[in-house]
């Protein structure tokens, strides 16, 4: 909240001379950082708890504490020995990445249409969101036939297709808001400057909504990466099975290997965390290059 007001002044000051009279702002930033760090730490407790589970032996899982009674590293090599982790991770990435590409190909033009095409756009938006309302369980059967007919059953491509389509409504609805934020005057100006509709879309609108596109891509990636029901239904065996299915296999056992399950979760999630960092950078970069001033 704080610098919202302060930004204007700080910018003015900082562009002139670095004023020694700004310790208040710096203190405020430090305070905010500390506050957010505490929140982040609290939010990370369940994840850290998973990390702690990954070094517990089976009899230590329910030890009534956040920390293991003693370190038990065996889960790590055991997990790798028990399952072909790399294979599942590769599947998950391929499915998620493929689905994001498909989602954006549909959703970027779609969102522009819903936001800008007046009543027709609103009608389309309503339809798209309604299609997202139905719980997907019952749609499993018809989608199964669809995949079989395309000969994409039990393939990574088939799963990417279904996940990609499933996320279209999410993406359209996210992007719709961003498109609406683009002042119409900018587009009109571009249009008057002689840029065609397509050119102004590509050169003016797209850069302006790029943080939105990045955010939508990121979220759709996560949704696909963690999607469970379709992965379980359309990937019959390990050829196309993804990480959540693997995790559920641990849970489906009478003797749940919590430690190994935790190892698999951490390893599966680590690269996605890295992606999250990288993607956030892009999100900011995309914005600062924009002309929203």
């Amino acid at each position: 909240m704080t610098t919202l007001e302060a930004t204007g002044e700080t910018v003015a000051h900082e562009t002139a001379v670095r004023s020694p009279a700004r310790p208040a702002a710096r203190r405020r930033t430090t305070g905010l950082t500390a506050l957010l760090a505490v929140i982040a730490l609290l939010a990370a407790v369940p994840v850290l708890y998973v990390a702690s589970l990954s070094v517990r032996s089976r009899d230590d899982v329910l030890n009534g504490g956040l920390l293991p009674s003693r370190l038990f590293w065996r889960n790590w090599p055991d997990a790798f020995r028990a399952v072909d982790l790399g294979h599942y991770i590769a599947n998950s990435w391929a499915v998620a990445a493929g689905s994001v590409v498909l989602t954006l190909l549909v959703a970027v033009p779609g969102a522009y249409f819903t936001a800008r095409a007046g009543r027709r756009g609103a009608r389309l938006a309503t339809l798209v969101l309604s299609s997202y309302c139905a719980p997907p369980v019952v749609a499993v059967l018809p989608l199964f036939y669809l995949l079989r007919n395309l000969e994409l059953n039990n393939t990574v491509a088939g799963l990417a297709l279904v996940d990609g389509l499933a996320n279209v409504p999410v993406a359209i609805w996210l992007l719709d808001g961003f498109v609406r934020q683009v002042p119409k005057e900018i587009e009109e100006a571009a249009w008057l400057d002689g840029l065609g509709t397509w050119a102004s879309l590509r050169r003016v609108v797209l850069p302006l909504i790029s943080p939105g596109v990045a955010a939508a891509a990121l979220i759709c990636f996560f949704l696909s990466y963690n999607e469970f029901l379709f992965a379980l239904s359309f990937a019959q065996d390990s050829t196309a099975q993804t990480l959540p299915v693997l995790l559920s296999l641990f849970q489906g056992d009478k003797n749940v290997e919590f430690g190994q399950q935790a190892v698999v979760s951490l390893i599966g999630v680590a690269p996605v965390y890295v992606l999250a960092v990288a993607a956030q950078r892009r999100l900011v970069a995309g914005l600062s290059s924009g002309a929203l001033k």
């Binding site: 909240m1 982040a40 369940p46 249409f113 095409a117 139905a134 019952v138 996560f222 995790l247 919590f258």
Partner: protein
């Protein structure tokens, strides 16, 4: 069309989404409606026409009618909690810097964590015997708790877990929207002598309202569809106290194999979601009209 705005919207842009709707919505919808009006099992769908029998059974089923109300409560509660927390976090994050930085990413972790693992972790944390929460409370000299043992406790726990996972989602989107707020808008407000909180309330939040409404709408729908954590953490219990409609429908379709009944329930449930979300959509539309 063009009279209202100088910018033309090529209809070709609607082709991908309409094709999407045909494949992913219209076709399954026709199929689901077909299932809803027939005697259908998972193995033998569309056996014979049964009229509204499946709908009657669904509406007479205690587990389903109860689940409708619980789903609404869950979706609304979760969306409200997450909107407030997510927006607050985004504002803090934005106030700190123009980059979310490592902190922003750390705050994002829950969203990225697979729901199956989220559920397992929370369940172990909350286990009445040997769970970490009980251990921590014990160490502090406090009595143990068993949130999953009571009806209200289990429901609230699910809202907490869902909020843990989805607040970052709201935060990320609101943060992205905040970055789009032109600086001069804030400067103008500041020059007018508006305080920090007033600037946020009367300038920043209204500016990003389309995004906020989109997020709420989406989060409502996602909340209606909650399944994985119910499945892992409470399995709908104790009793039916956390049986949401999606869980109930999934059970009917894939555990009891009564696909006809599940389809009828899906249709009814979708109508309900439509009803609730249209309330938000109306506001969204009003906003749009004001803006135009």
């Amino acid at each position: 069309m063009t009279a209202r705005s100088a910018v033309r919207v090529p209809g070709a842009l609607a082709v991908p989404p309409v094709a999407f709707l045909a494949v992913f919505a219209a076709y399954p919808l026709v199929y689901v409606i077909g299932l809803a009006f027939t005697d259908s099992t998972l193995a033998r769908p569309l056996q014979r026409w049964t009229g509204f029998d499946n709908f009657r059974t669904a509406l007479e089923s205690q587990s389903f009618t109860g689940s409708l109300w619980r789903s609404v409560l869950f979706a609304v509660l979760a969306a409200a909690v997450q909107l407030v927390l997510g927006t607050a976090l985004a504002l803090l994050l934005r106030a700190r810097a123009r980059r979310p930085g490592l902190l922003g990413t750390l705050l994002l972790l829950p969203l990225v964590t697979p729901p199956v693992m989220v559920g397992v972790a929370w369940k172990l944390l909350l286990a009445p015997v040997g769970g970490a929460l009980g251990g921590v409370l014990h160490a502090l000299g406090l009595p143990g708790v068993n949130p999953l043992g009571s009806a209200t406790g289990a429901f609230v726990t699910l809202v907490v877990i869902d909020s843990w996972q989805w607040t970052p989602f709201v935060m990320l989107l609101v943060y992205a929207a905040l970055l789009g707020v032109p600086d001069d808008l804030r400067e103008a407000a500041a020059l007018d002598g508006a305080g920090r909180w007033r600037t946020v309330r009367s300038v920043v939040l209204p500016y990003i309202e389309p995004t906020l409404l989109s997020v709420v709408l989406l989060k409502l729908v996602i909340g209606f569809k909650v399944f994985d954590i119910v499945y892992v953490v409470t399995a709908g219990g104790p009793g039916f106290s956390t049986t949401t409609s999606t869980y109930d429908i999934q059970r009917t379709a894939l555990q009891e194999f009564d696909v006809g009944g599940a389809a009828a329930a899906t249709v009814l449930f979708s109508l309900l979601i439509g009803l609730v979300t249209s309330l938000v959509a109306v506001r969204r539309k009003r906003h749009e009209e004001v803006a135009v």
